[in-house]
């Protein structure tokens, strides 16, 4: 069966496609080499010396997340659930990104911490810091594995190399530029990757829509197929959440996905926050997620629509195959929703465009993995190695540790790639991970930033019990004690983790000693003078088009309009 599926999926690339692909890789390694010459301190390596303009960090912010997970996972989701997948962008990302830029960034950038766990250290002390640092590092290695697995499976399909060879070669390429140029190489490549991903997916979307007779043709075909008409409207999204009841489904989306999972992910995930921390000023740091929100609103169109087109136009996924896959069975063709994008490329693109599409896919997988690696090495070096294992060494020692640990993380990711290979819809796997790690973290952050009374003990106790609650929900849904198909299990898990974290934190705070107010300046809202939260609006930061609040307002209006239309 697997062998059959592989021959079917082999893309018909020719010399032109390979030349276009090679040019891309040449530039990727070139960026690594150029960035290498600018790295002289550990801050250069881990935070690009805090020197990048907002449009670069903004695009990198999006691109770091536009990895394999997003491109393959969301098009798989598009094929399986249709338009409700857009919630991952409009409800599940944009509001949280605006919140990060407007409310939280002043604390991150203003306190000059070098990582999210370091913020935990300043606010709650060592136990919470260690819990957060370790769980973040573990999550990154798991997610890097998922990205690596997808990258390798494309190389495997394209060149016919065995999966394990593809995994190692793919890992070596990502490793070479992240270990050389550090965060700068990763960020500059993310910007380039974003361009290539759009160059690959936009033409595919256009051709796909022609194929099915335009938007109306797609609506008619999806409505008439398995899944039915509710797949062409984003609300209420019952199939996605697994709730029968419309009200519960909307509640699950808004509270579970929209509030806890998405705010948890975007505002506390260091992979993202690190990109904003590399910006050159407070204003640029605040604009980073807001500038990123503009493309983020539009990405669903070039990711979900190809998935939906594949779900009605690609023989291996459409019709009875789609019905079987939705029911949780194997499709008669042997394909899975994860193959949607590749199959559509095979069916529609001529040589030339095909090479660019392959470059775009590989680019997105490398973007995700490089982002995981560059944030992992920062947290490991600053928050684990420098804080607990080897203190007070010269800076170049930590720079060296950063490079070595990047290699170690890559080797670990090769291991976790094989865990990821056991899930048929990778989005399920990743939402699950986020419910364990990000949801409780967000609760602790929110409480810690706005409630000065919250104590250091509450910091780590809340985190641990929140993750515990998500694990309990995971166990209940896995063992079928509580049946929630779709990604509802992860949403409920995230909600439980959030609530348990808040309750435990408040209870523990009531019986333990808070930190003195003097130590919390710049870390807690009410103890930070207003001028410290502001940014300058002169020189490079002047002009209405550089005003974070105004930009955020525009994004919000457009997002609401998109929700009403679809």
């Amino acid at each position: 069966m697997t062998v059959l599926a592989q021959t079917d999926l082999r893309l018909d690339a020719n010399a032109v496609d390979y030349v276009l692909l090679a040019l891309y890789f040449l530039l990727v390694l070139g960026i690594g080499y150029l960035a290498r010459r600018r790295v002289s301190t550990s801050l250069d390596f881990f935070l690009s010396g805090r020197s990048l303009p907002a449009w670069v960090t903004g695009l990198a912010f999006i691109s770091a997340n536009l990895g394999a997970i997003e491109v393959m996972g969301m098009s798989a989701n598009g094929a399986e659930y249709g338009m409700p997948t857009a919630h991952y962008f409009w409800i599940g990302a944009v509001p949280a990104m605006l919140f990060l830029g407007i409310v939280m960034m002043p604390f991150y950038y203003g306190s000059k911490v070098r990582s999210v766990p370091e913020f935990m250290l300043r606010r709650f002390g060592k136990p919470a810091h260690l819990v957060n640092g370790l769980s973040f590092a573990a999550a990154q290695v798991l997610i890097a594995g998922a990205n690596l697995f997808l990258l390798a499976s494309v190389v495997n399909l394209l060149l016919g190399w065995p999966l394990w060879v593809s995994v190692i070669v793919a890992a070596a390429i990502v490793l070479s530029y992240t270990a050389l140029g550090g965060l700068s190489a990763a960020i500059y490549n993310e910007v380039l990757q974003f361009v290539v991903i759009v160059a690959a997916l936009l033409p595919l979307t256009i051709v796909g829509l022609y194929k099915v007779g335009g938007w109306q043709g797609l609506v008619d075909k999806v409505s008439g197929g398995p899944g039915g008409p509710e797949q062409v409207n984003s609300w209420p999204g019952n199939q996605l959440t697994g709730f029968e009841d419309n009200f519960l489904s909307v509640l699950g989306l808004v509270f579970g996905l929209g509030f806890v999972l998405s705010f948890g992910y975007w505002t506390t995930n260091f992979v993202e926050v690190q990109r904003a921390m590399a910006a050159k000023s407070m204003s640029a740091a605040r604009r980073t997620p807001i500038i990123g929100a503009f493309p983020k609103m539009l990405v669903p169109f070039i990711v979900i629509i190809p998935g939906m087109v594949a779900g009605v136009a690609v023989t291996e996924i459409a019709g009875e195959n789609k019905a079987a896959l939705i029911a949780g069975d194997e499709a008669p063709s042997g394909a899975t929703f994860n193959d949607a994008l590749l199959l559509l490329m095979r069916d529609l693109l001529p040589n030339g465009m095909l090479g660019i599409a392959i470059a775009g896919l590989l680019a997105s997988f490398m973007a995700g993995m490089a982002a995981n690696l560059s944030s992992f090495n920062t947290v490991f070096t600053y928050d684990i190695w420098q804080t607990y294992i080897r203190k007070d060494r010269p800076d170049d020692y930590y720079l060296r540790v950063g490079r070595i640990i990047t290699v170690v993380a890559t080797v670990l990711a090769i291991g976790t790639a094989f865990i990821a290979s056991t899930y048929s819809n990778l989005m399920d796997y990743l939402q699950q991970l986020f419910s364990f790690f990000n949801a409780p973290l967000f609760a602790t952050f929110l409480l810690g930033m706005f409630w000065r009374r919250m104590t250091p003990t509450a910091g780590w106790a809340g985190l641990v019990s929140g993750t515990g609650a998500a694990l309990v929900v995971f166990y209940l849904t896995e063992s079928d004690t509580w049946v929630l198909p779709g990604q509802g299990g992860a949403f409920v898990g995230a909600g439980a983790a959030f609530v348990v974290d808040i309750v435990v934190s408040v209870a523990v705070s009531a019986v333990t000693q808070p930190k003195p107010a003097a130590q919390l300046a710049g870390l807690v809202w009410s103890l930070t003078p207003k001028e410290d939260r502001q940014h300058t609006a002169t020189g490079e930061d002047a002009g209405w088009y550089r005003n974070p609040a105004l930009l955020a307002g525009i994004v919000l209006v457009v997002t609401i309009a998109l929700n009403i239309i679809f």
Partner: protein, 91 residues
């Protein structure tokens, strides 16, 4: 200081984007005009996607090049000053 400035200009990500997208656009346009067969066009729902995507990419490449020409790196006073300060710190 001179080498430092040239190093900044040599590493302008906008030029790298323009280079990549420009070459891609050129290759695709040439493919679309002379190489892509009728069969392939038939396969892509009757759209000569190589030609159209190629032309689109050439426009994007031109836009990035124009941006670099209008606003080159390292000319703003603030960035100059920061570069000098950074150089002083290192020396």
């Amino acid at each position: 200081m001179a080498t430092r400035t040239s190093r900044f200009t040599a590493f302008d990500i906008r030029m790298i984007i323009a280079l990549l997208v420009g070459v891609y656009g050129l290759v695709l346009t040439v493919m679309g005009l002379w190489v892509t067969s009728d069969e392939e066009i038939e396969k892509s729902a009757g759209v000569n996607i190589n030609l159209w995507a190629g032309l689109g990419m050439l426009v994007v490449a031109a836009a990035f090049t124009g941006w670099v020409v209008i606003r080159p790196l390292g000319v703003s006073e603030e960035e100059q000053r920061e570069a000098v300060e950074a150089a002083d710190r290192e020396d």
